[in-house]
Amino acid sequence: MKEWEIVIGIETHVQLATRAKIFSASPTAFGAGPNLQANAIDIALPGVLPVLNKTAVEFAIRFGLATGSDIAPCSIFARKNYFYPDLPKGYQISQYESPVVVGGELAIQVGKETRIVRLTRAHLEEDAGKSLHEAAGHSPRGKSGIDLNRAGTPLLEIVSEPDMRSSAEAVAYARALHALVRWIGICDGNMQEGSFRCDANVSVRPLGQRDFGTRREIKNLNSFRFLQQAIDYEVCWQIATLEDGGEIEQATVLFDADSGETRAMRSKEDAHDYRYFPDPDLLPLVIDRAWVDRIRAELPELPAAKRQRLVSDYGLSDYDAVVLTSSQEMAAYFESAVAVAGKSNAKICANWLMGELSARLNREGREIDATPLSASQLGGLVARIADGTISTPVARQVFDALCEDSGVSADEIISRRGLRQISDSDALEEIIDAVLTANRTMVDEFRAGKEKAFNALVGQAMKASKGRANPHQVNELLRRKLS
């Protein structure tokens, strides 16, 4: 059987987190009543003129700088002409021949491996409105309802090169891009609300063949899971079709989340004749070096740089560094906790943050910015674990108590509840003697060669001390007494 190679390129529509629209002063907030955020420009009344939003341009520049792209000193807006009821002008303002951001690359993490995906370009454009069909219960029979609140919302369309070779790589790319646009503060990343949507261009070719196969474009994937499912299905379908002697026709396809299948949209002739031309309502967008330099100076430390620093400064693993830089909030939390716990305890901080705290946040459906436990509280707790003041089981108790009360420190809880670890040999010996007397059977079992009985005795001693005994010392003392 022939071996196939999968080729994937991704176009992503990133909704820019501006307060007003890209060419008008309408607000962009999500969830307003229909057409309440659509002004004369958005609904395309005659005689209106678009004026470009400065922050939208700034966000595009930020993205370009964060991906090592070229920022075009001069770029042009173009009209993309097509007819659809939710596009009242009859054209979408976009960029065609000269986009604002050119080239660049993004590092992605696939398992343990880091790979580079090249970017083709990123351009500014406006979003269209929304069509609601009767199925949605909004409009009467035989009618579609048009809501133009979204019309004119700023988008940055980011186009990758066809550099991905599996659905896992495609998802890794989408995740890295999603994390980056949130990190640099240009997009809220809310995928349910459509702030981040992917189109995947998928083709297959016999391994070793130089030319690409014919591609089909899967439109509008708004979750990482759908992206993966849609590509997997599409790849199987394309390979099966080719192996049956069929041909792939270039097409736009939709993913049906219920059936898990992709299917071709009815292809209209002329559908792709957009007759782009420079928009005479907009002048060339000129970006000078000084502006770019100013934005560069304001950029936060980027995830890749921070990842490297976490590995070299704190001795964390690559995996830990990737998890801790999944968002700026996460990274900031980690570094604040370490500032309190001490640099040498960074690994323990990472473990508690990625283990206990993340599990709790997941359980409660919260993000790190809504944490019940502040970074300095966690740092204080880690410091007491590291210096032996409390044992790990007790630390869990303290952790839970801290989550209940944001105003209290680990030290206060430890002293208030008398949780300080017992390292005093006399006190420990007393506890152990009592345990040995009370558990004669276990002692006999151990002496008969059952190693398990030893662990049971340690457990009894820990229990008798309410978790406060130093487990290491308990081990030693027990061994000595039983030998």
Partner: protein, 98 residues
């Protein structure tokens, strides 16, 4: 270079303009005259001259990212008074299904 009648019909269709056969041929004549003019302009030597994207040699002015505070309900009412059909705040159009 000159256009064919078929190309004129296609352009009209793309622009969703309905034209009769008579209109198509008179439009063809007019468009071909424009092409003649363009040919004359193309004869000018523009070697080494940067093409302009706009007739005016100016750059785009930028607007601060400040949302307006117009009364949205009142405005919607005024706009929708102009629309052929509305309902629940939506503009209603003949059903479109992709």
């Amino acid at each position: 270079m000159s256009l064919t009648l078929e190309q004129v019909r296609r352009v009209a269709h793309l622009a969703r303009i309905e034209i009769s056969d008579v209109e198509a041929s008179s439009t063809l004549g007019q468009l071909n005259e424009i092409f003649t003019l363009i040919e004359k302009m193309q004869a000018v030597d523009t070697q080494g001259i940067e093409p302009m994207a706009h007739a005016q040699e100016m750059v785009q002015r930028l607007r601060d990212d400040r949302p307006e505070t117009t009364d949205p309900g009142q405005r919607r009412e005024a706009f929708q008074a102009l629309a052929p059909e509305t309902g629940d705040g939506l503009y209603l159009v003949p059903k479109v299904i992709e």
